[in-house]
Amino acid sequence: MNDKVLNEEQRRAEERAEMNAEAQAAADAASTYEHGWSSDIEQDFAEKGLTEDTVRFISGKKGEPEWMLDWRLKAFRMWEKMESPDWAKVNFPAIDYQDAYYYAEPKAKPKLNSLDEVDPEILRIYEKLGIPIEEQKVLAGVEGARKVAVDAVFDSVSVATTFREELESAGVIFRSISEAIKEYPDLVKKYLGKVVPMKDNYFATLNCAVFSDGTFVYIPKGVRCPMELSTYFRINAENTGQFERTLIVADEGSYVSYLEGCTAPMRDENQLHAAVVELVAMDDAEIKYSTVQNWYPGDENGKGGIYNFVTKRGLCQGKNSKISWTQVETGSAVTWKYPSCVLNGENSVGEFYSVALTNNYQQADTGTKMIHNGKNTRSTIISKGISAGKSDNTYRGLVRVGANAENVRNFTQCDSLLLGDQCGAHTVPYIEVKNPTATIEHEATTSKISDDQMFYAQQRGLDEEEAVALIVNGFAKEVLKELPMEFAVEAQKLLAISLEGSVG
């Protein structure tokens, strides 16, 4: 009995010490980019450059069926004739698509059945990633820990999937998209490219041609997914474009919450990331998609950093369906991203909650589109943009109401916070309405942290950086509270870390 107590106390003391050490390490890491590192895992590269052969190589490497290769080739030929869009408020040197690698995978290993079999190198990287504590517990096998299924995308290939069994007994399909193409070709064929058509935009078409891997989720009728699904993206190899492809289908009456978190190692050369995410919600289904994006933003002189050109779109196909996007965007040198909802089903609901923080020379052009086609459809857009350093932060959004969409409701709130007088904050909302019964409200404000707020916080004992972090977190609170708990904590820290050096 006493021994037990003592052991318990000892364990706690150790834990405390560990936490202190962790805190020290975090503080040390915070002076530079926290997730900057590079690990050595042998790569299997496709040759540099992008030709039909590259596409064939990728498809062949993945052992894809003929129809998939045909689909990719069609996209590639389409892409060759397209031009890179230039309407966003971002500037970057033209990308040489022939000077990048389009495929890299960790050296083939036998299929893994449990986490124990995962390459310790990868586990070590998870640790560095600062995977939320809950998930660390899960990974460590702590009993009673909240369950989060992790489908880890290490570079381009999915290498570990946990909790597959429990998900399977619920009927949930949670696979890498490569596996799904082979195992569930009918489902994939039915939905792939249906929400984001192949010809949608330059980067989406490119993704169709060369997507390396990603995630496929299918939640069957009436199933509430028994755990939150999580994927960690990392970009590891030098000069490797990352082309993720995600497809989530929620059948009638089902529910799923999907968490996506990203970090990337520090690199000097800009890296292109052009993901496509498609969501489909049937009658009475709900999909909650949360992202914390923390890719390498480049250094304080604007050198390096990820180009993040992502197409994310959800289709509320069924009546009473709901798709909710929540994003905290603090990383990447250039972000071009508009998670959108096409609201076709009657009474369907679309939501977009966003915090975008830019510092140094970062440029973010992000927002959403809410396309109201169905009757009684509703949408909410809450966007909080924070600009610091010499960065530019743009909200760009579209609310469209079709002529036959009766009783549509939309509320949009776009707030910008400027820290310093060398940055930019921009708001570009488009409102297009063709039905007289619609009620659309859009509000935008721009502000800075007032001297009074700063003084008040400092008078209570916070230093300047702490005060700014506190106020910024308050500014973003409306969005942060939409995140699943374990993400919310991480996101708050991320905002503070990302702002470092922006004050004074």
Binding site: G424, Y430, I431, E432, N435, T439, A444, K448
Partner: protein, 249 residues
């Protein structure tokens, strides 16, 4: 003469380019208006000058010098394709006031497009635009407020409200902020909606028939755009607007 714009030109994305194509060579260059430092000037556009082929256009390039005030009231109505371009550059401590109404019917397409440049500190601008659109009409407001790097203590506001009377009418709004200074107050609000049902019931409960209640509400709605006008100007432009509104609703 510039080349004919295309749909790819942001400021013309909603324009009736087909109609415009035939008369493009006749479109006059912008009228230059300078309000001298410290002075006040007011202008109204009750009718957009017709170029031909059902196209009417007004194009103002306004410079408001330090401490000056420019007040502009415009009415976009009664032509097939009508466009009012307003580019304004504000000097230090100056003020720009815009009130505009867009009243469309049939298959008219009417646009008010503004670019308001706060180039110097301490200037203020206020834009109020109200649209009422019936039939298959399209009404568009695009307003860009640009605050330059050193234009501190700018106060810029935009209020854009649209009301559709028929299912086939279209309202487009794009109130845009482009801000490069931190000590600014910039806000815009945009709404599209029906007449307030609560208010309509309240009015009915006092005995007003639905048509009268609707008329009163629409008049008040349009009236917002002209409250900033001097009395005589308001009477003229609002009077004209109300006559057009009567035919519309």
């Amino acid at each position: 003469m510039n080349a004919l714009p295309t749909k790819g030109d942001e400021a013309w994305r909603y324009a009736d380019l087909k109609l415009l194509a035939d008369v493009w060579q006749d479109v006059p260059s912008p009228e230059q208006i300078t309000v001298k430092a410290g002075e006040s000037m007011a202008r109204q556009i009750c009718e957009i000058p017709v170029i031909g082929n059902g196209v009417a256009m007004a194009d103002l390039d306004i410079v408001i010098e330090d401490g000056a005030t420019f007040t502009l009231h415009v009415l976009a109505a009664a032509v097939q394709y009508g466009r009012i371009n307003i580019k304004t550059t504000l000097g230090k401590g100056s003020h720009f006031e815009l009130g505009g109404a867009i009243l469309g019917n049939g298959d008219q397409s009417l646009e008010i497009v503004t670019e308001t440049i706060h180039a110097k500190p301490e200037a203020t601008s206020n834009q109020v635009v109200r649209s009422v659109l019936g039939g298959k009409a399209t009404g568009t407001f695009m307003g860009k407020v640009h605050v330059a790097r050193d234009a501190q203590r700018t106060d810029a506001a935009q209020s854009v409200k649209s009301m559709l009377l028929d299912r086939s009418a279209t309202a487009n709004s794009k109130p845009e902020l482009e801000i490069f200074a931190d000590d600014v107050l910039c806000a815009h609000g945009a709404t599209v909606g029906e007449l307030d049902k609560e208010a309509l019931f309240y009015m009915a409960s006092r005995g007003l028939d639905p048509e009268t209640a609707k008329r009163l509400m629409l008049q008040a709605f349009i009236g917002d755009a002209f409250v900033s006008a001097a009395d005589d100007v308001r009477e003229a432009i609002e009077g004209k607007a109300l006559t057009i509104l009567e035919a519309l609703s």
